[in-house]
Amino acid sequence: MIAAVHERVGAGENATRAREPGWWLVAGQECRDLWVSGRGPVLIFAFSVLLSVITYLTATNQVLNFLEQREAVNLTLQVAVAVGVLVTLVVSADAVSGERERGTLESLLLTPVSRRGIVLGKLAAALSLWFAAFVVAVPYVWVLGRGVSVVVPALALGLGVGTLLALALAALGLLLSTVSSSNKVSLAVSLFLLLALFAPTQLPTGAPQGWIGDVLVRVNPVAAALHYVSAVLVNGRGWTRDLSYLISPVVLVLLAGGVLVAAAPRIVRLHGGVSGS
């Protein structure tokens, strides 16, 4: 059987080398797993149902429809960003710990792709979920914002701020996934973190007043980013005036992403937890 085949095309001298870097190949496969046969379409469908309900209520409900059009766009955009980022975090929190539990991580670790390449590929795949969520949100924002020239700035803000948040939380989720002892732990910690970050944005009276309140908003990357969106969209502030609110999301990207990339060779391993190997 195998002995009979001598003329082989292997990874040896005669083979044509692939041009794509390892992380790109991992990202491509992860995206196929996510979108062709995974949870991606289901999550995005659920996301679009949620946005439909929010948009419908915003446009027609007697309690909500007093909202000024800009506020309606802002509300829908904030929901889109928040939920889009949430699903990105959930997917990334499963990326390494889930593979460990399914027994598929070892075969990936046995390839020449570096461990940094593996996490970068998984990060890119998780971000594809955010970009899909954003694309789904576009028609809703367009419907609500027609006639007040807010659609383009709202979409640009949503894309920029949402991508920043998605990158930060996806990196954080991946970091948790790599160091967690089990997939359950990774998902539970990620969801708790998400609740802790989003809860302050849902306070009925908005952000707490005074300098303490301002600090609380600024240190929470999600609250700060959504505050920036509101400031530009609803309050009509200039794009650069409140940029300082984006410091905490940027810091989170640099910290989580930096630790992930720098420590990947040590923390992406067969067993999670502190005593893993």
């Binding site: 059987m1 002995a3 044509t16 080398r17 692939a18 046995l110 067969l270």
Partner: protein, 316 residues
């Protein structure tokens, strides 16, 4: 069998206070099938993970095909591994799975397709190439795992319990593939298994581990001979209807005690009860009586006996 493909020296791995692999040294050559034996927890899987760079050794060094362990990426290009607890993405087809892994090893799209198709044929999965892995039987998954271990045309192939959970036909199929990898490809195969008859059948050399340490390494014959005591008993299997005749024939041989085995009515155990008795004489008597002999196994002459003796005593 002259080219050294695997060379380990003083390989040690500690997890906290526990030493999983302790000062393991050995070499393996091109075309050799090395059986890696040991009781549960002996350090077989850890040794494989060290040699395939999944784990980093606490001490010691090794090389694969001349590449030192300081170049893990280059080593991974030269090894193929079927892991003991390998999982498979059930939603992918066998072809997609192999193609993806071939791409990860640097093959261009078209070559990856060619390699996937060829390997699926070689392991007998060509007809199921487009089926989802979730529909594969355990034996098919094992063969797919072996095919994945070969996508990079490795110099050394590590197979960790490749026949675990397979039916006899599946086991034979996998062992045939193991032979072909060594003989046809000229690769070194490191076969970790608990099934000793498998080792006797396909392995050229064996390495027995216990408690993370190497007990012995050498050819199957050498290892067996090293611990074999002078034979004291044998097991004779004859057709069921001939058992009584065989027992009667053996009763006339001095110095031998013949007993029936309750749970195996076709089996007799023959023990030496006097110095100078000869187990071969028992075989001659039975044959002379015209009784067909289905098997005649002298206790202590099998690898299993050597393995049991070594792992129980802890030393060769």
């Amino acid at each position: 069998m002259t080219t050294v493909t695997l060379d380990a020296a003083g390989l040690t791995k500690r997890f906290g206070a526990r030493t999983a692999v302790d000062d393991v040294s050995f070499t393996a050559h091109r075309g050799e099938v090395l059986g890696l034996l040991g009781p549960n927890g002996a350090g077989k899987t850890t040794t494989i993970r060290l040699l395939t760079t999944v784990l980093t050794p606490t001490a010691g060094e090794f090389s694969v095909d001349g590449v030192p362990c300081s170049q893990p990426t280059e080593i991974r290009r030269r090894v193929g591994v079927l892991a003991e607890s390998a999982g498979y993405p059930g939603h992918q087809t066998g072809r997609d799975y192999l193609r993806y892994h071939a791409r990860l090893f640097g093959l261009a799209r078209r070559d990856a397709e060619t390699v996937a198709t060829r390997l699926l044929t070689e392991v007998g999965l060509a007809e199921r190439a487009s089926s989802r892995i979730s529909t594969y039987s355990r034996g098919m998954r094992q063969r797919l795992g072996i095919a994945r271990a070969l996508v990079n045309d490795p110099s050394v192939v590590f197979l960790d319990e490749p026949t675990l959970g397979l039916d006899p036909a599946g086991q034979r199929q996998v062992l045939g593939i193991v032979r072909d990898i060594a003989a046809g490809r000229g690769a070194t195969v490191v076969l970790s298994t608990h099934t000793l008859p498998e080792v006797e059948e396909v392995c050229t050399t064996v390495l027995i581990l216990n408690g993370g340490r190497v007990l012995t390494v050498g050819s199957v014959a050498d290892v067996t001979r090293a611990v074999a005591a002078a034979p004291r008993s044998a097991r004779l299997r004859v057709p069921f209807e001939s058992v009584d005749r065989a027992a009667d024939a053996l009763a006339g041989v001095t110095g031998l005690l013949v007993r029936a085995v309750d749970e195996r009515p076709d089996l007799l155990t023959i023990s030496m009860t006097a110095v100078g008795a000869d187990l071969n004489e028992a075989l001659r008597v039975v044959l002379a009586a015209g009784i067909p002999v289905l098997s005649f196994e002298v206790e202590g002459a099998r690898l299993g006996d050597a393995f049991a003796a070594m792992t129980t005593a802890g030393t060769p």
